[in-house]
Subunit: 413 residues, 2 copies
């Protein structure tokens, strides 16, 4: 495949007229006047388009995309007890397929080529994700309330460990829902299979306060003591942290997945992202599930991340380049992804139409990507496969119909 | 003109297959199986599209759209002194035309049919706005630093008072930049011409603190004492308010223009919107200029408004329906606009493509508009004129080129 005449940001500067040559699932060359690798190969005209490396959604529950708009503007407990849990009790594999495909559709439209998920029915999630052509770091959620889930983890890790798109992972829900035994078992499995460990960490004040009252340690101290924190750990939220927690997360190279929209919508608090970054922590971005967002856009998450920190700490905090890095390089590091618009990198990229007024004037494209960009991308390629070209995703209508059927069945009284 | 088969939200419920008949600049009928008013009249197929009434951007400085991305992530004073003021000193009428047309392009793409502006070169702004087909409530900014601006107000009010799209208004900048004499003269002119009065009010803590120290009144008390507060006053920001200020703004029916993105980006603070609404104040939404946003989307402003209040006060605050009302009904009341999808209303409306994944499933369209909607609308009609159809705005490329030329000239060293 050859992408002709793209614009690319190199060290913040826009270079125009560059070709990107793709062989199989990797970028083979980036330069001027390149040839298609093979005769009759697909050529994509990228004139007037900005090529960006594929973005990463570092924390979500993708199948919940099915529940978009089903319950908003509620307190956490009534929301869970009256709305989410009753629906989740009814979920079948076919609903998961419907929700994951709808979610992937949205990831594709937002130029996201990898997402990190924690939910139920992970084999179904993996199959739907692979079918949609997206990378998924997937973990089945572990709760002590549902001890049978633990037995599914190892078979899942074995089944998917060599898949080109799916990375099976281990997902203990949180310190307040998993026993020490469950957490240690999760750690052991993650280590044995060199898998990522995905956990919610210090999201709400109440959760942290009651944990500290009970155990006289912060959740971070506790996970550190159990050996669950390290460079393969993705810790979502990290809102309520002590200065010592911040140092620990940075020193142990934990990947902090910041979810600013969700934290605002659920009134969880404001993560000390500036202090985490100052300490050297690897901070990435996630949308969380649609119920607390309500979409999968990492563009809007970048803007939200920058603005919330500025609102909290001052206008110079978290400039555009730093927040862009959170959605790209920091996330690639977190999930071990060799993504980038360079030869040898995975062919994960998106093309954005620069002729929209929000990219005008051509002043600072990094600022435009973070602060002005509206809507989705034009073209998304993952692992060398074109998932959307010029706004067209093959099969989109059927995916939307399928999601609607599942939603209606689940919410029928 | 006839719009065929649209979906419309009526009391929060989605009604499908409705036609909207437009004669001249008004909606003449809404119903099923309507006929085009005249043979060969334009018929727009709105199957699968949601018709919404035109949105309002209640506070901006539209010509500044030219400076998008030129200076971000800076403290207020260096930003003004090193970046904005030197550029503003170079602005000519042709730059204003370039910036206003670029801004209007964006308003059109976001389904906004009326904006409330305060800036320089307002005749040029009015001409460019009229040409683009948008409604503008336009006021030349008044500062004591530039006393010559005051003399331009009355001729401007006279010249534009009978225009179908332009409403000339009076724009004293703020209490800390205008003398009592200027403020009283502004009030007198606004009263004489029954024009709106547009002012920045209690935006930053420093500004309010130093005003209170100096005059022993809050800015709201001071403007009340001078008689500048009333139902024709649009007060932008209103972040730092006392409980008594809140009561005053509500009792005097002042239109509070909430600009949550700008307030975060400049770290101005969080407006007590929930308490303003509880007191009965008419709260609307504005983007402010692009330098502090960086786009003109009222969709993203709605989401930001809801999330910031939730983050600050709890998840049930400012539900979707309330924030939607701020961008529509409250704003129509503020600027005396008879907009609505009903017979007799102005033909100001937009069509949104419901086949995007962020509108799936069909659960709660008001929630989708506020929380999930990404990007712009498909079709925008203002005063019975189609400004964009299916994403095409005639002349867009030339407007973008013109903006680029102005930007390059202004920033050339």
């Amino acid at each position: 495949m050859l992408i002709k005449g793209a614009s690319i940001l190199q060290n913040g500067e826009l270079k125009k007229g560059l070709d990107i040559q793709i062989i199989d699932h990797k970028i083979s060359a980036v330069g001027r006047e390149l040839q298609a690798p093979e005769r009759n190969d697909l050529i994509i005209d990228a004139t007037g388009k900005l090529a960006i490396p594929g973005l990463v959604n570092g924390h979500t529950h993708l199948a919940m995309t099915l529940l978009r708009g089903y319950a908003d503007d509620m307190e956490l407990m009534p929301w869970l007890q009256e709305k989410i849990w009753p629906i989740e009790a009814k979920l079948t594999a076919s609903d998961i397929r419907a929700g994951v495909r709808l979610g992937c559709l949205e990831l594709i439209r937002f130029g996201i080529t990898c997402y990190n998920d924690m939910y139920y029915f992970m084999d179904e999630t993996a199959r739907a994700t692979r079918e949609m052509g997206i990378r998924g770091v997937l973990s089945g959620v572990l709760f002590d309330m549902r001890p049978e889930l633990l037995a599914e983890v190892e078979p899942f890790l074995r089944r998917w460990k060599d898949d080109p798109l799916i990375r099976p992972a281990v997902g203990p829900h949180a310190v307040y829902t998993c026993s020490e035994e469950t957490l240690l078992r999760a750690k052991e499995l993650a280590q044995r299979y060199q898998a990522a460990l995905h956990i919610h960490l210090s999201e709400t004040r109440d959760e942290v306060d009651s944990f500290v009252n009970q155990s006289h340690m912060t959740p971070v101290e506790y996970l550190d003591a159990l050996g669950l924190l390290g460079p393969r750990t993705a810790a979502a939220h990290c809102v309520w942290l002590t200065p010592s927690d911040i140092r620990t997360l940075a020193e142990l190279q934990v990947n902090v997945i910041h979810c600013p929209t969700s934290n605002l919508k659920l009134a969880s608090g404001i993560s000390p992202v500036d202090r985490l970054l100052d300490a050297g922590a690897n901070v990435c971005l996630g949308t969380d599930g649609v119920s607390s967002n309500n979409n999968m856009s990492i563009f809007s998450e970048m803007k939200m991340a920058a603005l919330v920190q500025k609102g909290n700490r001052g206008p110079t905090i978290l400039p555009a380049a730093q927040v862009w890095k959170m959605a790209t390089q920091n996330s690639y590091r977190a999930f071990g992804l060799d993504i980038g618009l360079a030869p040898g990198s995975l062919a994960d990229l998106a093309l954005i139409d620069l002729s929209r007024p929000w990219f005008s004037p051509e002043s600072n494209h990094l600022s435009h990507l973070v602060y002005s960009m509206a809507g989705g991308v034009d073209t998304t390629i993952c692992n060398g496969r074109v998932l959307m070209e010029n706004g067209i995703v093959p099969g989109e209508a059927e995916i939307l119909e399928d999601a609607q059927r599942s939603f209606e069945r689940l919410t029928a009284s």
